[in-house]
């Protein structure tokens, strides 16, 4: 057992574990979920169906899953990490063959009670796998090239499978979260510097070569990149959504138009208003105050999770908590940047608020891991 300082006796047992949970985190999660219910009720025109009610049920289920995960000692989850990672890879391969495509690009497998998106699952299992890897890896090997390549492979395999779906949003999240894990685990600065420099160099080369003899991409590929970076060049496609989103957001003003009074949302100018663009509705109806409030709740979740990570001396617990934190951060940061016109449109939902079963359940399970790490942290007597 790698749990050196672990004294099993000092860990709470049985039902008492519930008392030792990170309760501020629980309360924050419930608050954010409630914001979600409220907005789903609003975009449905003041009705619990079709979105708010199932969302409440799923949050209930998700909360139960979180409790269940939290009750199980964190070291069990560490031992499960490799298995979970392989399982999610298998599922990703399986959706290639058996999955159904719905609403854009994400693929899911219908399990009857829920449509499971393996790509959602992969985000968490990849973090677990990396945390377990660095928990096991002796410290002097962390920055050795061969031992850096292995986790890079752990990141790129699910990324490749997700890109094939094709789900660009999730692929970006996987790479970013995985990179953050490597950074947190203590991989040498130079690796990140080289990767960033190479990336910047490649991007510069691609753009510099445009219109010259040695042009690296085809002209239509450049046009696609243009549309991706500046949606206003395609006013009837991607640009339309972003423009409408900014109008809705901006017209909310300081205090918003009031609950259920958002004209842009009412008039259906917003696409996907119950999923990817739900933050726009919030910002339109509750204004700057409402938007910053949700942002504050999110930031507090980050703070409490980081605190949990720093409080434990168990390396797996710390890494898995920080990884989940980063994933959560990436979710809301990418989504908000997108609806505010700072980032291109990639399908990333607003965590805990957007309508969606898989994402909600997987996220709650992930917070169950954080709670488990919190409950089962090593205590010195």
């Amino acid at each position: 057992m790698s749990y050196l300082e672990y004294t099993v006796k000092s860990v709470p047992s049985g039902i008492r574990k519930v008392l030792y949970m990170n309760w501020p985190l629980n309360l924050l999660l419930i608050s954010v979920a409630c914001v979600g219910f409220l907005m789903l009720y609003s975009v449905a025109g003041g009705s619990f169906s079709p979105w708010a009610e199932p969302q409440i049920e799923r949050f209930g289920l998700g909360f139960a899953v979180m409790l269940a995960v939290a009750m199980v000692p964190i070291w069990f989850w560490r031992n499960m990490a490799a298995l979970a990672y392989l399982l999610s890879l298998l599922l990703l391969v399986a959706v290639e063959f058996f999955g159904a495509v719905g609403m854009g690009a994400q693929r899911w497998i219908d399990l009857g009670f829920i449509r499971l998106q393996p790509s959602e699952l992969a985000k968490i299992t990849m973090v677990m796998m990396l945390a377990a890897y660095y928990d096991w890896l002796p410290s002097e090997r962390i920055s050795r090239p061969l031992w850096v390549l292995l986790p890079v492979a752990i990141i790129l395999i699910p990324t490749y499978l997700v890109l094939r779906q094709p789900d660009l949003g999730t692929a970006i999240l996987l790479v970013a979260a995985g990179g953050a894990m490597l950074f947190l685990a203590g991989v040498h600065w130079a690796y990140f510097a080289v990767v960033l420099a190479a990336g910047a160099g490649l991007v510069t080369a691609v753009f510099q070569s445009r219109g010259t003899d040695w042009q690296l991409l085809k002209n239509y590929q450049y046009r696609r990149i243009d549309t991706f970076l500046d949606p206003s060049t395609d006013p009837l496609g991607a640009g339309y959504h972003i423009t409408q989103s900014k109008i809705a957001l901006g017209s909310g003003g300081w205090a918003g138009r009031g609950f259920m009074q958002g004209t842009q949302t009412r008039l259906n100018f917003l696409p996907e208003k119950h999923t990817d663009f739900i933050f726009t509705t919030l910002a339109e109806e509750f204004g700057f105050v409402g938007g910053v409030s949700l942002l504050t709740l999110y930031s507090l979740i980050l703070v409490f999770c980081i605190a949990t990570a720093l409080a434990t001396r168990d390396r797996f617990s710390s890494l898995v908590t920080l990884g989940i934190t980063v994933t959560f951060f990436l979710f809301f940061a990418v989504n908000m940047s997108m609806v505010m016109g700072l980032a291109p449109v990639v399908g990333v939902p607003l965590p805990m608020v957007s309508y969606g079963g898989s994402a909600m359940l997987v996220l709650m399970a992930a917070f169950g891991l954080v709670q488990s790490a919190h409950i089962h942290r090593p205590r010195q007597k």
């Binding site: 790698s2 950074f183 017209s251 910002a283 390396r315 920080l322 505010m340 700072l342």
Partner: protein, 647 residues
């Protein structure tokens, strides 16, 4: 694996440092998001509030009426005729399946189409009308209207579709329209918003395509207030679009119909062109097809039938087809020699029936030879050896330069699809294309319009018009746009020696008026309308030495696709030329037997403006001509009643 406490401490400290850094970055980004929100929602709030108000006002495009196309006398060739369709609004219909079922008992519904429509209906917003059946007859519309109470949500609507009342006669000239395809959109840099309207139709071929920009018109707009679901509440403002421009063509619909009918049953083409103005009076190509089929969306079977036909109905042979001009090219060779001062009209050559050039024997069509041949006789009797001999003196460069002055190897600017350039070959061209040196034999072949020389029927008509007028006449197809006269095709004088031209014209006159002329059988008797012309027979195959030894096989004994092309060019009246005519009959056999009679009939029809009197024809032909005229008139009457049924 056990770790010593020092290592654990070190790792933990490093993790802590990096976690704090990462956490700080995350919170910093959250702060940046808050700033962005502040910028949008506080600083720019007023601007976006204004935009939000404007958002409730929607702009809907109104499709303009497409410009109509007329012939030179105002006969309509392409019109917008009302077509009826039956639409359904889902929210008014209630039980869609039951309503559609009831409708199906009243009028015929296509099962496949219906399935697609119902699927579309389920996807689109409930208040949006979806077309159930298109092109419904008036009887069906009335039946639907009478049964309206039993058909909630179903209404008949009237729209405009393109209709070509002259059908196949103008299929190649006017072309046809069709719905915008993705390919069309990808070809245009900044597509007009109109093109994105579902079922919007644009020109796909012919004038409809080439003059699309003028015919289409400008979109109008409706400002409407929309409510929560995008449903139109009321119209605030309406700006009518600008209808497309009406085009009037130079073509005479009656003459065109006559020429098409005259060529019926053959894979052929004929052009009638005004010698002075360049106005194209008829541009015929047979067989043709019904353009209305394409507007409706042609069925696979119909399309297959068109593409599988060996006579190629879809090809516009008049401008797109290029053929070796054969002997009709001899005037060019003669003029090249005369203009260069290498020969005079009186110089003679000796024709023993062949000419030996660098050990190869080039035969004259007349095996026995023509004896002494001067210019007049060479054209009148179409002696080949005279031109072989002349070719050696003139050379290919001068020959091709003269051809280009007469419009062969030059792409004429008329708004039809795939106008061919033809070919006036020279040394450079052969080097570029085949990477081979020019041979003297190539020049000899070119002199009689064989070998590499290629010309379209349009180019032959232009050539003839230029011979007749001595001016570089250009063809014109569009006479007016919205009543505004378009630039004419009357050209500048070509700067040729008038005496040389007169010699050539005189020889062309002899072709159809001298007893020994190759087209004497197709002469015009009426003195006011005497015709000058030139026959041409262009080989599709090489005659092998073995064939020659066995005696030349007669054309009629060959399979159709190996027979010679028959050509004839003519202008009339000889004294004051009005029209130039060119006729090409693919695999028709000889120019004098197959093409010349057609050219004569077409020319007389153009000159008289109606069925010509029998007095214009030679005495012995009158019986046959009378029967032919009656047959054509009968057939045309039949087709006209067909056409009215279609409308």
């Amino acid at each position: 694996m056990r770790r010593n406490p020092r290592e654990v401490d070190g790792l933990h400290r490093r993790l802590g440092r990096r976690a704090l850094l990462a956490g700080g970055l995350q919170l910093g980004f959250a702060g940046a998001l808050a700033l962005r929100m502040r910028y949008l929602q506080v600083e720019q709030a007023d601007k976006f509030r204004l935009l939000a108000e404007e958002n409730r006002i929607n702009i809907r495009l109104i499709a303009p009426a497409r410009g109509q196309i007329f012939d030179r006398n105002g006969v309509i060739l392409a019109q917008n005729s009302p077509s009826y369709r039956v639409v359904i609004v889902r929210e008014d219909a209630g039980d869609v399946d039951a309503v559609v079922d009831r409708l199906g008992r009243l009028i015929a519904l296509d099962e496949d189409d219906l399935e697609k429509t119902v699927a579309e209906l389920r996807r689109s917003p409930p208040f949006l009308p979806v077309t159930l059946v298109d092109r419904v007859t008036w009887e069906d519309v009335s039946r639907v209207a009478v049964n309206a109470p039993a058909l909630p949500g179903i209404t008949p609507e009237v729209g405009l579709t393109r209709f070509y009342p002259r059908g196949a006669d103008f299929a190649h000239i006017v072309g046809y329209v069709g719905p915008v395809s993705d390919y069309d959109l990808s070809q245009i840099d900044a597509p007009d918003q109109l093109l994105r309207i579902p079922r919007f139709q644009i020109g796909k071929s012919g004038i409809e395509a080439k003059r699309e920009d003028e015919l289409r018109g400008k979109a109008g707009a409706r400002h409407v207030e929309v409510n929560a679901t995008g449903r139109v509440m009321r119209e605030l403002d309406r700006r009518e679009g600008q209808p497309g421009a009406d085009l009037q063509l130079t073509v005479d619909a009656e003459l065109q119909a006559y020429v098409q009918a005259r060529l019926q049953g053959q894979s052929a083409s004929a052009i009638v062109m005004n010698v002075e103005t360049g106005d194209l009076r008829a541009v015929a190509s047979t067989p043709s097809f019904d353009p209305n089929l394409f507007v409706r969306g042609i069925s696979v079977a119909d399309y297959r039938a068109l593409t599988d036909d060996p006579y190629r109905p879809l090809a516009n042979k008049s401008v797109q087809g290029t053929y070796p001009p054969g002997s009709t090219f001899k005037m060019i060779t003669a003029l090249a020699g005369l203009e260069a001062g290498l020969i005079t009209a009186g110089d003679t050559a000796w024709c023993p029936g062949y000419l030996e050039v660098s050990n190869r024997r080039f035969h004259c069509w007349k095996r026995a030879g023509h004896g002494h041949v001067d210019l007049l006789k060479s054209i009148e009797q179409s002696c080949d050896v005279y031109y072989y001999d002349l070719a050696l003196k003139v050379g290919i460069e001068r020959l091709s330069a003269m051809a280009r002055r007469f419009g062969i190897g030059v792409r004429h600017d008329i708004p039809m699809s795939a106008v061919a350039r033809g070919l006036a070959p020279d040394r450079d061209w052969k080097k570029r294309t085949y990477d081979q040196e020019w041979l003297i034999g190539d020049t000899v072949n070119a002199a009689i319009g064989q070998g590499f020389v290629l010309a379209s029927p349009l180019q032959l008509a232009v050539m003839t018009a230029r011979l007749a007028s001595g001016r570089s006449v250009r063809p014109r197809l569009v006479r007016t746009v919205n009543g505004v006269e378009q630039p004419g095709g009357a050209g500048e004088p070509m700067g040729l020696n008038e005496n040389n031209l007169r010699q050539v014209r005189r020889a062309m006159f002899a072709v159809s008026n001298d007893r020994r002329g190759t087209a004497y059988g197709s002469r015009v008797i009426d003195d006011a309308y005497r015709m000058a012309g030139k026959t041409g027979t262009s080989q599709v195959r090489n005659i092998t030495a073995a064939e020659r030894a066995a005696g030349v096989t007669r054309n009629e004994d060959l399979p159709w696709e190996r027979r010679d092309h028959a050509l004839f060019v003519a202008f009339a009246p000889f004294d004051a030329p009005r029209y130039a005519v060119s006729v090409v009959i693919e695999h028709g056999g000889g120019g004098s037997s197959a093409a010349a009679p057609v050219a004569r009939d077409v020319m007389l029809q153009a000159l008289y403006g109606d069925t010509p009197p029998l007095a214009a024809y030679p005495q012995k032909d009158r019986g046959r001509i009378k029967a032919q005229q009656e047959r054509l008139q009968r057939e045309r009457r039949l087709r006209e009643t067909d056409g009215s049924d279609r409308a």
